[in-house]
Subunit: 348 residues, 2 copies
Amino acid sequence: MVRSNASSSGRITMADLARLAGVSIPTVSRALRNIDSVLPETRARIQALAAEHGFVANAAAQALRGRASRKIAIVFDFQSAGLGRTSPDAFIFELLGDVAHALTIRDFEIALCPREPSTERYEQKFSEIGASGAIFLGQGGQHDLLQNLATRYPIVVWGALLPDSTYCIVGSDNFTGGRLVGEEFKAGARKSVLLVGNPETEQVRMRFGGFAVGFAGSGQNTVDTLPVGFSYEEAHRAVLESLKARPKPPDGIFAATDTLAMAAIRAIRETGLVVPDDVVVIGYNNIPQAQTFEPALTTIQEDDHRAGSLLVEKVMQIRDGVRASSVSLSVSLIRRLSSGGPAPDAPA
Amino acid sequence: MVRSNASSSGRITMADLARLAGVSIPTVSRALRNIDSVLPETRARIQALAAEHGFVANAAAQALRGRASRKIAIVFDFQSAGLGRTSPDAFIFELLGDVAHALTIRDFEIALCPREPSTERYEQKFSEIGASGAIFLGQGGQHDLLQNLATRYPIVVWGALLPDSTYCIVGSDNFTGGRLVGEEFKAGARKSVLLVGNPETEQVRMRFGGFAVGFAGSGQNTVDTLPVGFSYEEAHRAVLESLKARPKPPDGIFAATDTLAMAAIRAIRETGLVVPDDVVVIGYNNIPQAQTFEPALTTIQEDDHRAGSLLVEKVMQIRDGVRASSVSLSVSLIRRLSSGGPAPDAPA
DNA sequence: GTGAAAGCGCTAACAT
DNA sequence: ATGTTAGCGCTTTCAC
């Protein structure tokens, strides 16, 4: 077996086409790329031949010859952490699907890459596989590294729009999202709020920062932070412990993601409290399950679903030497049951 | 910008190493691959140099030279279907993460590929990108095509273990899984059962087939099938309509996936019925949300989580010319609230 | 044990 | 408008 790429399976090469068309190899190359000269008639003949035989240029050879590859790397944490099977948040997978789709449409190859510990390792990796650009799904705590990498490689990052960043970021307007939640809590006269999520993560920090602004001036109140990662189990445990440890429960929880919000709600119920009567809960991302969950989750959502295609557009621009500016996707609050809003759709 | 792969960013080549080590290029190549001859001392010196300079062989050049690539394609439907945003089932994304992880550990490159309509197109695609094997996540209704493709390319498929298949399949023991549900329904004295899911899909057909066997002999009863795809929304709508159309509701629903089960439960509740008191519901896959969902979902789960690494192991074998046999992963029933079982863990 | 030579499939520079 | 020549970085003969 061991089918390598080329040569195996009756694969057609440019040399074959050249023979068939009675022209030289470079002419075939030119015709196929619709280049300048080449007699229209010749081009037509060659392209017809190519189509007929299902010719596809060997990407390896093109890459070797120095041509900018039509290949983009997508970087994210797919490493299930050993036993715990802590897979990425559902939102990231959604985004991955959208990005992959946008790349496919443009006829680009998609390489999945794990996180690396240094700029050099990323460069090596991208260079090794011949990717002409990379899309990072989440900063993953590598902001400084990314600043550096961006000066040497075309990258775009889904994540928080950090003010000092010199690389191109596409992200939810985390600050406004957080502020909307803060305002909602202020309007709902919440007195004691718990923020669930790790503020060391860039996006989470901005969400919580926005919250503080929106919630400000709501009089006598307290805001505590419960720093947890992105896993459902960890959040569930932490919220449960926190509820037991406190003299009285919070009356509002803002979770950094919908997944964490669902974990919090479960913990709340297990202590006998009722959502939203005793505690109002709001999440972030509006993942598909948010609507499905009981009680349906109040959450923050982007106003359009262009995240995936935007990331791809931007990386194409940078790859082509065009400056691309960061984009903050506007957000809105979806009111559902978990904050006392209406049910997602009227029961029959 | 337009950084192609090689040549840009001070990338080290074998020629550079050869110069540094004072040997010829082929010697470097041999040393790095731990090949036969090569004086141990020479090899050590070269490897040290390579490490020091962070040398990584250019995959394109290796591929071009005819070497079996260390690259595997993963095929699945990531195309969100236009407006509907019908993304793949959560289970597939879980599996994708596991497979990607297993490949990364083995230092293989991962290419994401969409479905193609024909054997030829798959061959072209794999050949173009230089993948030396492919993993299909789900048959996707392409059983015949896959039979054909497998004779020409190293592939492994996650899916149903169809009896006539000549290609290597790794899959849940769908038949037994279905049978367990059937037996559970029989034991629970269900009289009127609705199967939700499209039996044209290979895996679903086997699950329902197993159900029939397990449920058989439970006396006077009826079993209807509601054929729907894999989307939550579609299933929700279909179940709702079905419930309204029937003279009396079923007392048991077996959904082909957990996602469909959740949709069914929502529909059931919207008609005023109670799960599990009026209708018992069982799903399939034990996705993370199954535990979280309210009521927690009774479902079928594989006994171990080796699916991802098994798929990778198998494709490696086939790639290396070794025959690999299909594997049916044993399953068991997880009893939770949706079928009247215990809550996932005791409330505090 | 190592080097010299050839070539994988393609594209860019220079002919014509 | 097309052909000729050279070479990307690597591996595989075949010499020595």
